[in-house]
Amino acid sequence: MRTALAGFRTVYGSHPLHLLTLIAGFALFGYVLTTIKPVTLWNPHTWWQSIIVWFAAAIIAHDLVLFPVYALLDRILLTTTREPGPSGGAAKVPVLNYVRVPALGAGLTLLVFLPGIIKQGAPTYVAATGQTQDPFLGRWLMFTAAMFAVSAACYGVRLLLAQRAKQPPR
């Protein structure tokens, strides 16, 4: 019995339970596919308005676009904000996270609320709500301004405190 299990592991690469779990999951996926009917997944008139395309695009957009872009931006930020050395009071308070945090806030809100900000889907928006998307761009900009301003203020306070701490007591 033990050797059979070991043999299975050698061939498959994991415990039999691993395989059983995956088969059950894939079978459920298969049932979902047969229920939705594969024809529903594909739009023959406008290919990019297909469910299957959006499903794949969701993965690509995150893993191969969003992640590399924000990782690269962070690299650039990291190299440009690196402190020259221990001289100067600023070295004690790295600015990096005071840029990162508001930038992430601005980025997250831009990403999630993009339709309103760029006024996409205006006709359905008006039909549903009786209003326009006009305020959103301005609101997002004010949001961004506020986040960076608060962050700058926090950084300023930290700098002051660091400088005061450096001065010898009289």
Partner: protein
């Protein structure tokens, strides 16, 4: 002695390849050109502990999002063929009569579904960040088991991203994707559920081990300079040559948690209403319309529905059928009947809601008038000619609830055209779109 023990006991773990060994070894030996230079992970924070913590948060929140989503499908009434998409086979909860008490049930359900769905976006993004080295790992697999598991991750990651994207677009009325939101979001959820269940079953032991590998107390007491990477192991999440930390672990947790809290603050107002509504600055339903009695959120304007003054003016009639005789009433006749006032929320599938004071004729009174005092259901039709929601079927319990109304007034004045003048349905805990506006007829049915 098991294989795992020998691996940890030895200083250098032997590389384990599954069948066929030559294939996996070959793959391992030939990474894509430039791979070593291009793929270098630096963050000292990535590791099993961080991933496990983020995973455990999602493990407790995502089931709520899933179940409220599946409950909403039942609330739409699959027994009447009005849950969308239809014909889902076994891919649904068992059908039951959606309760009418408490009146805020659907409001809570959708508030949780949409609200939590938005709140977890920063956590999902952080979780994906924490495991992304595995996506680019070489070799991509060393056994059939790993190949299968990687394929299952497409359901997990693709599923959650697809659900977030379609959901976020839908609540902002952006239908750029072109396909049916309901169909895509519902089946997409089931693909995610399949991937999620596989992932939980396979990874729970790792998650437990990860959570126990570091004490939260210690993390909360460690500043940036004292933050050390988790111990490196091949094929793990920890970088081989991590850089110096730029943020402490507690700082990173505060950032992700703060992101979730921030999302809560700028979205919850669309569900909670009142003074909090204005905090939902970037959402369609965070806007106010004015201070008048009819100035609450509109879903589908009279203009968009093609409702003209002739259709709802002097010539408008309400027709009641299903009993021995057809009953036709005009608005003065309805106003002459005993009126009932109820304070009820109207809650949309999109997560927003608003509570108003409605006045009108109880649906139960109309059922009695039609000669059908105990209907099994009622089919309500709007005078709106086109539109996916110009009709709805109500359960018997929804017709007979004392607060279920054919509302003629709201907040003490006549309904505005946008809110369904001359008469609209309002039923406790009913999904918003089934509270039919511009009602033209009600057919009380025995089945």
């Amino acid at each position: 002695m098991t294989v795992d023990d020998s691996e940890t006991a030895a200083g250098k773990p032997p590389i384990d390849y599954g069948f066929p060994q030559w294939l996996w070894r070959r793959l391992d030996q030939y990474p894509p050109p430039g791979y070593k230079r291009a793929v270098q992970w630096r963050s000292p924070l990535r590791g099993l502990w961080l991933t496990s913590l983020l995973g455990s948060v999602l493990l407790t929140t995502l089931p709520i999002v899933i179940i409220t989503g599946l409950l909403s499908y039942i609330a739409y009434g699959p027994q009447f063929g009005q849950a969308i998409p239809g014909g889902v086979g076994w891919l649904k909860l068992p059908t039951f009569d959606w309760p009418t008490d408490p009146a805020w049930l659907y409001r809570l359900n959708q508030g949780l579904h949409v609200g939590l769905g938005l709140i977890i976006i920063p956590i999902v993004l952080a979780k994906l960040w924490s495991v992304i080295p595995r996506l680019f790992a070489w070799p991509p697999a060393r056994s059939i088991a790993q190949v299968l598991e990687r394929i299952s991750l497409l359901m997990l990651v693709g599923g959650i991203l697809f659900e977030i994207i379609t959901g976020v677009l839908n609540i902002q009325y952006d239908y750029i994707f072109g396909f049916s939101f309901y169909t895509a979001h519902y089946y997409g959820a089931w693909v995610f559920i399949a991937g999620f269940l596989i992932h939980i079953a396979i990874k729970i032991p790792r998650m437990w081990a990860g959570l126990r590998s570091m004490s939260m107390r210690e993390v909360l007491h460690t500043n940036r300079t004292n933050t050390k990477p988790e111990p490196f192991e091949p094929d793990g999440l920890v970088a081989e040559h991590p850089s110096a930390p730029t943020i402490s672990r507690r700082g990173a947790l505060a950032l992700v948690g703060g992101g979730a809290l921030f999302m809560a603050v700028i979205t919850a107002g669309q569900t909670l209403g009142g003074f909090t509504r204005k905090a939902a600055l970037l959402l369609p339903r965070g806007r106010t319309r004015g201070d008048g009695p009819n100035d609450f959120q509109v879903n589908r304007t009279a203009w968009a529905a093609g409702i003209s003054p002739e259709m709802t003016g002097e010539r408008w009639r309400l027709t009641l059928t299903g009993g021995p005789l057809k009953v036709v009433l005009d608005r003065p006749a309805l106003l002459a009947m005993p009126q009932h006032t109820a304070q009820l929320p109207i809650a949309c599938v999109e997560g927003w809601s608003t509570t108003e004071t409605w006045t009108g004729v109880p649906l139960a009174a109309l059922a009695r008038l039609a000669g059908m005092p105990n209907p099994a259901s009622a089919f309500v039709r709007s005078v709106e000619r086109r539109g996916a929601f110009n009709f709805a079927t109500l359960q018997g319990s929804q017709v007979l609830h004392p607060d279920s109304l054919l509302a003629l007034q709201v907040n003490g004045v006549d309904l505005s055209p946008d809110h369904g003048f001359p008469a609209r349905i309002i039923v406790p805990a009913l999904p918003g779109v089934h509270n039919t506006k511009w009602v033209g007829s009600i057919d009380f049915r025995t089945a």
